[in-house]
C-alpha cells in the first residue's frame, strides 16, 4: 500500500524581488528555469513508487513563470512517479500580470483545480510600496480571467499592517476583494526580516515603523467583515467559504505526512522533519552530481516534540485541538498534561477551554506566539 501524502513543490524564481520578501526566491535567474525543472524531475523520480498523492501544491516564488508546456511535463513526471487521487486538490500559486485565459485553461487541462493569486493589495500606492510588479486592476483582471477559464476554487493572498497603512485603505481592499467572492482568502500581517528592502527603509526613517496596534485593528476588522461576507475563519490567517478550506494546508496542520521537493522544501515523513538546501546553486549542483541527499536539516521529532507541534498546529485552527483526537493519537489527556499552561493562558484570556476541545480566543489569535511557545518542551540544556 502506498502511503497517502500531500506533495509540495517549490519554485524559487520571481521576475523581481518584492520589497518585503524573505521567501526563498531569486530574481534575474529565469534562464535557469529549465535546468531547475530537470533537477526537480530527477528528485521526483527518486521517490518513485512510494506515495499516493491527496494534494499537490506548487509554491514559490512565482510558479506561474513556468510555461504551460513545462507544467505539462512536470505533471507527466509526477504521474509516473506517484498515483494521484481522483479528488486531489492541486494548487498553483501565481502572481498577477501576463496571465492569459489560454494559459489558465492549459493549467486546468493539466489537472490544476485551485489557484492562489498573490493580490496583496488593491491599492496601487501600496502595491508600489511593496515593490509588486502589478497594479490593482491587473490583479482584478487576473482573478476574472481565472474565473472565466473555469477555475472555481481561487484564493487571494492579501497583506495588512503595511507601514503607514491606515484602517481605511485596508477596508477598501478587503471589501473589493470579498465582493468578488473568491472561495478562499489568506490575510498575512506584514513581517519583515532584517534583509528585506522595506526593513532598511524603515530603519532609515524613510517609512514609518510597523504598528502592531494598527495591525490588530485591521485584523479585527477583517474578522468582522469577512464573517458578513459568509467566510469561515477556519485558521489564524485563512478564511474560506464552507467546503473550500485548503486541504493541503489543513493536512499539514493536522500533522499528516507530506513530501516537499525543490529548493528549501520541507517534508514530514515517518516523524522526520527534513528541509532541502536553501540555495538554488547548491541544490542544482547536488542533483547534477547525483547526490542522494539534498537535505540541509533532518530532525527526528521525539514524542514530546510531536505532541507539542501537534498542539501548536491544531490551535491554529478554528476548532482547535480536539481532546478526543489527542487521546486517541497520543494517549494523553491534554487538559491534564498541560494543566499549568492551560490555566495560565485561560487566565490571560488567550485560550478557551471547551468540553471537547481547546482553542484560541479572538485575543489569542492575535497573540498566537504567546500561546504556542508555552507548549514547547523544555530544551535539554
Amino acid at each position: 500500500m502506498r502511503e497517502s501524502i500531500g506533495l509540495y513543490l517549490h519554485f524559487p524564481f520571481c521576475r523581481r524581488r518584492c520589497y518585503y520578501c524573505s521567501f526563498v526566491s531569486t530574481e534575474n535567474r529565469e534562464q535557469d528555469i529549465p535546468v531547475y525543472l530537470e533537477c526537480l524531475k530527477r528528485e521526483i523520480s527518486n521517490h518513485s513508487g512510494r506515495f499516493h498523492l491527496k494534494s499537490i501544491y506548487f509554491g514559490g516564488g512565482t510558479p506561474s513563470l513556468m510555461t504551460a508546456g513545462q507544467f505539462a511535463e512536470l505533471f507527466d513526471c509526477i504521474g509516473q512517479a506517484f498515483t494521484i487521487d481522483k479528488q486531489a486538490e492541486i494548487t498553483v500559486e501565481m502572481n498577477p500580470g501576463m496571465l492569459t485565459s489560454g494559459y489558465m485553461e492549459d493549467l486546468r487541462n493539466c489537472g490544476v483545480n485551485r489557484l492562489s493569486i498573490g493580490v496583496q493589495s488593491l491599492n496601487d500606492d501600496e502595491l508600489g510600496l511593496l515593490g509588486r510588479l502589478h497594479t490593482a486592476s491587473e490583479a482584478l483582471a487576473a482573478f476574472r480571467t481565472a474565473c472565466r477559464s473555469g477555475f472555481d476554487n481561487i484564493n487571494m493572498d492579501l497583506i495588512y499592517g503595511l507601514p503607514g497603512q491606515g484602517i481605511e485603505t485596508w477596508e477598501k481592499t478587503l471589501n473589493l476583494a470579498a465582493s468578488l467572492g473568491p472561495r478562499h482568502l489568506s490575510l498575512y500581517c506584514l513581517s519583515l526580516e532584517a534583509t528585506a528592502i522595506l526593513a532598511g527603509q524603515i530603519e532609515a526613517g524613510i517609512l514609518p515603523p510597523l504598528d502592531p496596534d494598527m495591525a490588530a485593528g485591521q485584523y479585527e476588522l477583517a474578522e468582522a467583515m469577512l464573517d458578513g461576507y459568509g467566510y469561515r475563519h477556519y485558521e489564524i490567517s485563512n478564511w474560506a467559504k464552507p467546503g473550500y478550506e485548503c486541504r493541503h494546508n489543513l493536512s499539514c496542520w493536522l500533522m499528516e505526512p507530506y513530501l516537499g521537493l525543490g529548493v528549501a522544501a520541507s517534508s514530514y515523513l515517518e516523524k522526520h522533519r527534513r528541509t532541502n538546501v536553501a540555495c538554488l546553486d547548491e541544490y542544482i549542483y547536488l542533483v547534477c552530481s547525483g547526490a542522494a541527499m539534498l537535505i540541509e536539516t533532518d530532525e527526528e521529532t521525539g514524542c514530546d516534540l510531536q505532541l507539542a507541534e501537534a498542539v501548536i498546529l491544531a490551535l491554529r485552527l478554528e476548532n482547535g485541538a480536539d481532546i478526543a483526537r489527542f487521546n486517541r493519537e497520543y494517549g494523553i489527556d491534554l487538559l491534564k498534561h498541560y494543566s499549568c499552561q492551560i490555566s495560565e493562558l485561560v487566565d490571560l484570556g488567550l485560550l478557551s477551554r471547551k468540553e471537547n476541545s481547546l482553542s484560541l480566543t479572538p485575543k489569542g489569535r492575535l497573540l498566537g506566539n504567546e500561546v504556542f511557545w508555552r507548549f514547547l518542551p523544555e530544551q535539554p540544556s
Partner: protein, 606 residues
C-alpha cells in the same frame, strides 16, 4: 646596595596625563626591559584596567640606573591608582616613597586630581618634581602650563621639566633629576624590622602577596612576622622585587621596596597600611596610623536567575579575597530574591566589581540603585545606619536624618562657570569659593581657568551628576571630591510600583521637593524599557501613599506570526524556542516580565 643609592618615588597625575606611558619609558630607558618586551604599559596589569585606562592596583618596579656622574643607583618606581575612589591606596603608596613625579598634561594644564595628588604628596613631605608632559603634541602650551605651575603650585620654572613620555624627549633629564633631587631613604637597618604594606593581592598558589617598603631593619625569607595593626602572624614564604617580573631574593634591607609571599588566604588578613614587624622582639611603634577604607556607596547585587545565588556568593567571596574594601552581607528582596548588599569605595569601584563578577564568573546580575549610608535617629531614640532604601523608616518615625557630604573641587575654563553653577544647583551643591588659575587655550581661544569649590551631599553625586558636569562643560571640567562628614538632611523615600507591586530595587531616598521630577523620570524610563505585556501595566512613583507620577504601559495586542510557508515547521518552532529562551532572561515582577537592562537603566538615572 648602599642605602644612599636608593631612590623611592612614584608618579602622580590626573587621569590620562601620561602616568603609565612615562612609567614605560622609565623602564625602557633604564634598560630594565628591552623596548620590544614592553607590551604596552607594563604597570597596568589587569585587563580591565587596560580597557578603562585606569590603574587599580599599585605595583612596584626596581630600575637600575647609571647616573651621568657614573654612579649606580637603584630606583624603585611605585605606581599609584589614578582614581579618587582609591585615594586611600594612593596615600599609603605615597608613604612608601620619598619623592613624586607630578605629571601635568601640556594641553590641559592643572586638573582637579593634579591638585588632590599634590596636596597628599606635600602632606607626606615628598620631594615633588613637576613635569609638563606631551610637549610633542602640536596643541601643547608648555609656557601657559608653566605659568600656572608657578602661580598655583608655587614652583620656579627652573624646577619644572618638559618631557614627552611618548617620544622619550626629556626623560633622561628627568631620571637625573630624580637621582639628584629625591632624598635617599632615611631608615636604619640595625633597628627592629618595620615595613609598610602599600598594596597586596591574592595569588592562587602563593596566597596573599604583600607589596612592602622596608623602613627599618631587614626582611628575610623564612622570617616569622606580625602585623602591628591587625595582629596577624605570618611567615615569609618568598621575598623579592619586580624587575618588572617577580625576582626572588634572600633579603630586603632598610629603604628597599619589594614583595613578600605570605601564604595568607585573604587580603583582609593583610591590609594595606599596616606595619609589619618581627613576631618576637619587634618594633613598638607602627609607621602610620592604620585604618580600613570605608565603603561610601552601597547597592544590592542579585543574580538574574534565582538559582545562581550560590554562584554569586562564591564569586563575591573570591573577589573579596583580593579586594578588602568590598563589603557584603546577604540581603533578600521580595522581588529580586536572595542577593547581597555590597559596599564600595565609590561608583567606579562598584562598576569594576560588577563587571568582574559578570565577566570573570559568567554571572548575569541585577544591581539596584546605588546609595549612601544614612544615619537615622528614630523618635524612640534608636539610631540606625541605613544602607538600603528598604530599611528607611516611615516619615513619622524619623526624628533626624543625617547624610554624608563631600567637598567638590572643579577646575574649568571660566566660560563654563555659568553652566556649572546651574549643574551644581540642580544637584544640591552649596557654593564655597572660586580660585583663579592660569590661562589656557580652549577651542582656539585664550581662556582663564578657575577652580570652583562646592559642597554637596554624596547622595546627589551618585546620580547623573558626573555626566551632566562633563556634558555641560563639553568635557573641559575636571572633578575631585573628598569626604567631609555627616550633616542633617530632610529626605523621603520614593517608591516605585510596577503593576501595583512595590519594587524595592527601584526605591531611592531623595529630598521631598524632588519627588515629582525624579518620580516622573523613573516612571517614564520604565515605560520605555519594559516591553508591552499581555495586559495593561500601570507604573507609579509614590512617597508614602501619595502618588507623584504615573505612566501606563498599554497591553500588547498583536505579535508577529510569520507566514508558515512550504510547511517549514522546524523553522517556525526555532523562532518560538528563541522566544521561550528570551523569557527566561527576564526578571519577573509579579506577572510582569522585566528585562535585566531595565534595572541598569534605572540605576543609571541614579
Amino acid at each position: 646596595m648602599d642605602q644612599k643609592s636608593i631612590r623611592n618615588f612614584c608618579i602622580i597625575a590626573h587621569i590620562d596625563h601620561g602616568k603609565s606611558t612615562l612609567a614605560d619609558r622609565l623602564i625602557e630607558l633604564t634598560g630594565t626591559l628591552r623596548k620590544d618586551k614592553i607590551i604596552q604599559q607594563v604597570m597596568d596589569s589587569m585587563d580591565l584596567e587596560r580597557e578603562r585606562g585606569i590603574t587599580i592596583k599599585a605595583k612596584a618596579v626596581r630600575l637600575g640606573y647609571h647616573s651621568g656622574a657614573g654612579e649606580l643607583f637603584r630606583l624603585n618606581l611605585i605606581d599609584t591608582p589614578g582614581h579618587v575612589d582609591f585615594s586611600y591606596e594612593v596615600s599609603r603608596t605615597l608613604v612608601a616613597c620619598e619623592g613624586a613625579v607630578l605629571v601635568i598634561d601640556a594641553t590641559q594644564g592643572i586638573q582637579a586630581q593634579t591638585l588632590a595628588n599634590i596636596y597628599i604628596a606635600m602632606e607626606h613631605n615628598l620631594e615633588v618634581i613637576p613635569v609638563i608632559n606631551k610637549i610633542d603634541l602640536p596643541g601643547s602650551e608648555p609656557e601657559h602650563v608653566m605659568k600656572e605651575i608657578e602661580t598655583v603650585l608655587g614652583y620656579k620654572s627652573s624646577e619644572v621639566l618638559l618631557i614627552s613620555a611618548k617620544t622619550g624627549q626629556g626623560v633622561s633629564e628627568l631620571i637625573e633629576a630624580i637621582v639628584n633631587r629625591v632624598p635617599p631613604p632615611a631608615g636604619r637597618s640595625d633597628l627592629p624590622l618595620r615595613a609598610l604594606i602599600f598594596d597586596s593581592h591574592y595569588d592562587d598558589y602563593k596566597g596573599v602577596i604583600a607589596y612592602i617598603r622596608v623602613v627599618d631593619g631587614v626582611m628575610e625569607t623564612g622570617a616569622k612576622l606580625r602585623l602591628m595593626g591587625q595582629g596577624t602572624h605570618l611567615e615569609v614564604l618568598e621575598l623579592g622585587y619586580f624587575a618588572p617580573g617577580p625576582t626572588p631574593e634572600d633579603r630586603l634591607e632598610a629603604g628597599e621596596v619589594g614583595y613578600i609571599a605570605t601564604g595568607l588566604k585573604s587580603v583582609k588578613e593583610c591590609r594595606v597600611g599596616d606595619t609589619i614587624t618581627l613576631a618576637s622582639g619587634g618594633a613598638r611603634q607602627p609607621l602610620i596610623g592604620y585604618e580600613l577604607p570605608k565603603p561610601m556607596v552601597f547597592a544590592g547585587i542579585y543574580p538574574t536567575q534565582a538559582d545562581e545565588y550560590a554562584d554569586l556568593r562564591e564569586a563575591i567571596e573570591k573577589l573579596n579575597l583580593n579586594d578588602a574594601s568590598l563589603t557584603f552581607e546577604p540581603e533578600s528582596s521580595p522581588i529580586l530574591g536572595q542577593g547581597f548588599r555590597c559596599g564600595f569605595l565609590g561608583l567606579l569601584h562598584l562598576d569594576i566589581v560588577v563587571e568582574r563578577l559578570e565577566r570573570e564568573f559568567g554571572l548575569s546580575l541585577v544591581v539596584t540603585v546605588p546609595g549612601v549610608k544614612f544615619m537615622v535617629t528614630k523618635t524612640n531614640g534608636e539610631r540606625l545606619a541605613v544602607t538600603s532604601p528598604v530599611d528607611f523608616p516611615e516619615p513619622t518615625e524619623i526624628q533626624k536624618t543625617e547624610e554624608p557630604w563631600v567637598g567638590i573641587s572643579i577646575i574649568t575654563p571660566s566660560g563654563f562657570i555659568g553652566a556649572l553653577m546651574d549643574v551644581m544647583q540642580e544637584y544640591e551643591g552649596a557654593y564655597k569659593h572660586t580660585e583663579y588659575l592660569g590661562q589656557i587655550t580652549v577651542m582656539g581661544e585664550e581662556s582663564q581657568r578657575v577652580r570652583l569649590e562646592y559642597e554637596m551631599p554624596l547622595r546627589s553625586m551618585l546620580t547623573t551628576f558626573y555626566d551632566s558636569l562633563k556634558s555641560r562643560s563639553r568635557g573641559y571640567a575636571s572633578l575631585d571630591h573628598e569626604f567631609l562628614g555627616y550633616r542633617e538632611a530632610r529626605l523621603v523615600k520614593l517608591d516605585v510600583m510596577v503593576n501595583e507591586l512595590k519594587v524595592d530595587a527601584f526605591s531611592r531616598i531623595i529630598p521631598p521637593e524632588k519627588a515629582h521630577d525624579t518620580g516622573k523620570s523613573v516612571v517614564s524610563k520604565l515605560k520605555e524599557v519594559i516591553p508591552r505585556q499581555l495586559f495593561k501595566v500601570p507604573i507609579q512613583a509614590a512617597v508614602g501613599s501619595r502618588i507623584v507620577a504615573r505612566e501606563d504601559i498599554s497591553a500588547r495586542r498583536k505579535d508577529v506570526l510569520a507566514k508558515c510557508y512550504g510547511g517549514d515547521i522546524t523553522r517556525k518552532r526555532k523562532l518560538l524556542e528563541k522566544q521561550k529562551e528570551g523569557k527566561k532572561k527576564m526578571k519577573m515582577i509579579g506577572r510582569v516580565e522585566v528585562p535585566k537592562e531595565a534595572f541598569l537603566e534605572i540605576m543609571k538615572l541614579g
